[in-house]
């Protein structure tokens, strides 16, 4: 069984938090106290909420699969950029680099749909050459565009006006699913012949044969140039090894709990 961390265990008035929570919130600079944050909750409530998110990931197995996990906590580009999995300020830690028209605040980071994108600095072929992976997002305000994309145009979650297309590892995206602009979306390739789209919990599996995953960084908010930018407001995004149905559900549940603490569910 995974190790459990309890608050206020041991020394009185000395809360114990999990290592990723501690590292991340220390970098963000939110004190673990009763002062009110920009999210309306206290700093302590925020620490407890992020810690519960991490604990859920440990308990249910999805945290160990994560490469990047952006929580968009902090309210500015300089803080929303950090990867929860490794909050170092470097490309190697997959720290976001924002370019173009973004608006950053307590609600996340909103792309303007014209020229905004953020490089994750993750080239997925270096970790997932066979394409068995998951990526996803929790956002609102999207009406169009390549919400996440990269890998030379062989990996994307594109929400078009007429229909959506998703792709992991093929030169042709697939449609035929119910596209979801907003909410919690996960796209997974668990085998060489199918990909699955989870739109706010509804799973649809489509035929797509994996051919290759060309080199190319994953971008949030843009892909394919000026006609394909998204206007989504991101509150969480992730990239991981392929998640099972149970892990996807657990991550979605943990995210909902965290976003409730942040008053942006």
């Amino acid at each position: 069984m995974a190790k459990k961390y309890f608050f206020y265990k041991g020394v009185a008035d000395a809360p114990s938090y999990l290592p990723l929570t501690t590292a991340f919130l220390t970098v963000i600079g939110i004190p673990d106290d009763g002062s009110t944050t920009i999210y309306g909750c206290t700093g302590h409530e925020l620490w407890v909420g992020v810690n519960a998110f991490e604990q859920k990931g440990i308990d249910d197995g999805w945290l160990a699969k994560m490469v990047y996990l952006y929580l968009f906590i902090g309210g500015s580009a300089s803080l929303n950029k950090f990867n929860f999995m490794n909050p170092a300020d470097s490309d190697a830690a997959y720290r976001l680099t924002f370019s173009g028209g973004w608006t950053h605040d307590e609600n996340g980071s909103k792309a303007n749909g014209t020229n905004a994108e953020a490089s994750t600095h993750l080239d997925p072929v270096t970790l997932f050459a066979t394409g068995l992976l998951s990526f996803g997002r929790y956002n609102d305000q999207a009406t169009k565009g390549a919400i996440i994309g990269g890998a030379g145009g062989y990996l994307y979650d594109w929400a078009g006006l007429a229909s959506g297309f998703i792709d992991i590892g093929n030169s042709n995206g697939v449609s035929g699913y119910t596209r979801v602009y907003n909410g919690f979306v996960t796209i997974t390739r668990a085998n060489g012949t199918q990909i699955s789209h989870y739109g706010n919990g509804t799973k649809q599996t489509l035929s797509q044969t994996f051919t290759s995953l060309p080199s190319g960084n994953i971008l949030i908010g843009g892909n394919f140039g000026p006609s394909y930018y998204s206007d989504a407001r991101f509150k969480m995004t992730f990239f991981s090894a392929a998640l099972s149905d149970a892990e996807e559900l657990s991550l979605r549940t943990a995210n909902a709990a965290l976003q409730t603490v942040l008053n942006r569910l």
Binding site: A77, S78, T97, G100, G101, W102, N115, S175, S227
Partner: protein
Amino acid sequence: MIAYKLTPEQAEVLTGTEFMPDNYFAPIEDINGDKFISVEEVDQCVNEQFQWVKELQPAEFIKPIPTHPFPIT
């Protein structure tokens, strides 16, 4: 859509520089090949070196026609 038109020289100067900490200018071409920056980049520019962007005149920005249709299976 409204954006702010740049000269080629202005676009070159701004490309890859910060308009606020950790957010970089990204001049983009319109349908005619002219370079523009967005309303957000101008409004939120706090880089003292580039306050001249606030003197730019707003202009109509028309996206280029997609160079390739989106792939369909």
